[in-house]
């Protein structure tokens, strides 16, 4: 296994921390949004946009770019933060999130520079990713397609239609990442629908399966490297994560799936905890 520059790892951790801080600020200012799933996905987004993906913020529609679909569209705050930090649009615009005059729609929309697919109604992003991956193969382009799914989201039947088809079509340019934070809007996923054995399900559908700690940037990098080396089938990375990661009172609870910090005190505490986390990096 090739070694990963420790400075790079630190940088990605700081970026993930920034994504979390932005997410909290955006959602608190808007008094609306989904912090739980934004915080759980921050490390994955940091690695994708600041290490893995070939993109050009000055030319967001560059035909050879790697594609990303945030199928769990409610994590839009974290996604927009990553895009802005990567240079697709000004960071100050992040504080217009969900406003009537803003292009930063509640869920990802094609109005936003860098967004490859609009999402929000769960279960559809993997299908769009298949379309992009098929087009890449048809056009003999070497771009790759990444789709980030929520674990609650994969209760949707459309996901498994797509899972079957992606394997049938041998789409090795397609990577699905499941943000396995084990909590959905109403409750813990296993109290709603039993998703386990999740790895076996995907394997049974014909996918290469890699399970990782979704908050360990080194593991995320290595899993994406493995996916690139995998030929003849798509890869799914089951990223085991913590809902609300980084803000203690949001961790492991469904309460903050779709709710902002409830008052100024909660807000300040979230920022303080994230600041402390940053100092440890």
């Amino acid at each position: 296994m090739s070694s990963i520059d420790p400075e790079k790892v630190k940088e990605l951790k700081r970026i993930a921390n920034d994504i979390r801080v932005w997410s909290i600020k955006m959602i608190y200012r808007a008094q609306s949004g989904h912090p739980g799933g934004a915080l759980s996905a921050a490390d994955i987004l940091a690695v994708l946009y600041f290490h893995e993906m070939r993109v050009d913020p000055k030319n967001p529609e560059w035909p050879d770019r790697d594609r990303f679909v945030l199928s769990k569209g409610h994590a839009s705050a974290a996604y927009y933060a990553a895009l802005a930090m990567r240079g697709f649009f000004p960071e100050e615009d992040l504080l217009t999130f969900r406003d009537v005059n803003s292009y930063l729609q509640g869920h990802p929309s094609l109005m936003v520079p860098g967004v490859d697919m609009c999402t929000g109604s769960l279960g559809q992003g993997l299908s769009a990713g298949i379309g992009m991956a098929l087009a890449g193969k048809m056009d003999k382009k070497d771009y790759r397609v990444y789709v980030l799914l929520g674990d609650g989201e994969i209760e949707e039947g459309n996901v498994w239609e797509a899972a079957m088809t992606a394997a049938t079509r041998k789409l090795d340019n397609l990577v699905a990442i499941v943000d396995r934070n084990k909590i959905q809007l109403d409750d813990f996923t296993d109290r709603m629908v039993e998703l386990d054995p999740l790895e076996e399900k995907w394997r049974g559908f014909g996918w290469r399966v890699i399970s990782i700690n979704g908050h360990d940037v080194t593991q995320i990098i290595r899993a994406l490297d493995e996916a690139r080396k995998t030929k003849g089938r798509p890869t799914v990375i089951i990223a085991h994560t913590v809902k609300g990661k980084g803000v203690s009172y949001m961790e492991n609870t469904a309460k903050y799936h779709g709710k902002p910090p409830q008052n100024e005190e909660e807000y300040e505490r979230a920022l303080k905890e994230l600041e402390e986390e940053r100092r440890k990096i």
Binding site: R67, M117, Q124, A133, A135, N158, A162
Partner: protein
């Protein structure tokens, strides 16, 4: 009448092949109905640009969106009931909202599907698709028009819904005619009342007008292939000229042609009108032509409905 009948589905398949030869970026999708929708004709000619995804209408629409987002012109086909009903949310979220270049061409619209019965007879699709922002909706009246419409939607950017019927249709227009998007067309002039029809019901309405002529009524018949955007001018003119309008459609009288025409009349030139078609009930099994007779949607049925309406408005 001495009409030449032709399958609109076959016309669709043939036009896809022509387009496939002309343009590299056209891709076609189906969900295990390609021998019925005739997209299989394209698939045989261009296997690398044909994606039959199996029984996955929802996934098909999502993949169509991804292909379109990557620069392809996508034709996605299934029966009307599955393309618009089963996959409605995918069409809404992944195609209409981002305004992607996907042409949903559905066959088997209406009760004229026949023996398969209500489960397969889609009578709500025009309403479902017309209600979507960014979606344009066309129901060609014959196979010559199918060819023109398919060519038109291929060159126009953005989403379309095109509704075809299962049965062969008489060619009422010639191969040389132009398709005018968003324009209705007077198929037969008249001054006592107007029938506005679409699809298979246009030919029956023309026959009904002949029956009504014997009853002493001079009926205008308008073909309204484009449901959305609808041709306001031709509707208002018909209202002014003839004073009474009846719509006829192989679709529920709610949310289809009748509703669209009613909206135009109420907002612009309120006169009495009457909606004929499937009157808010599901169909049943039977031969397609027997079903049209059963529901009063054949020539005799339409004439009878119009006579009843005229007695009311002209008394």
């Amino acid at each position: 009448m001495n009409w030449e009948y032709e399958s609109p589905r076959k016309a669709y398949g043939e036009t896809l092949i022509e387009l496939g030869k002309e343009r590299e970026d056209i891709v076609v999708m189906d969900a295990d109905l390609s021998t019925s929708t005739k997209t299989a004709m394209f698939g045989k000619e261009f296997p690398d640009r044909f994606f039959n995804v199996g029984l996955q209408e929802q996934n098909m629409m999502g993949i169509a969106a991804g292909l379109a987002r990557s620069g392809k012109i996508v034709f996605a086909s299934s029966f009307a009931v599955f393309a618009t009903g089963r996959a409605y949310d995918q069409v809404r979220q992944s195609i209409a909202y981002p305004k992607l270049n996907v042409k949903i061409v559905a066959t088997h619209g209406g009760v004229t599907v026949g023996e398969d019965g209500a489960s397969h007879q889609m009578i709500e699709d025009l309403g479902l698709m017309s209600g979507l922002p960014n979606m344009r909706v066309i129901a060609p009246l014959d196979s010559n028009e199918v060819r023109r419409v398919i060519r038109f939607v291929a060159k126009e950017d953005g989403p379309f819904y095109v509704r075809l019927t299962r049965t062969a249709l008489p060619n009422l227009t010639s191969g040389e005619d132009e398709f005018e998007f968003g324009k209705g067309r007077v198929m037969r002039d008249g001054s006592d009342a107007t029938i506005i029809a679409l699809g298979i019901e246009v030919s029956y309405s023309l026959l009904a007008a002949e029956i009504l002529k014997k009853e002493g009524y001079d009926i205008r018949v308008i073909n309204m292939s484009t449901i959305k955007p609808i041709d306001k001018d031709i509707i208002v003119k018909a209202a002014k000229d003839t004073g009474a309008i009846m719509t006829v459609e192989d679709h529920n009288i709610y949310n289809g042609l009748g509703s669209r025409v009613a909206e135009v009349l109420v907002e612009n030139y309120p006169i009495r009108m009457h909606r004929h078609g499937m009157k808010d009930r599901f169909g049943r099994s039977g031969k397609w032509n027997v079903l049209l007779e059963h529901y009063g949607m054949d020539d005799k049925g339409i004439a009878k409905e119009m006579l009843g309406f005229l007695k009311e408005v002209k008394k």
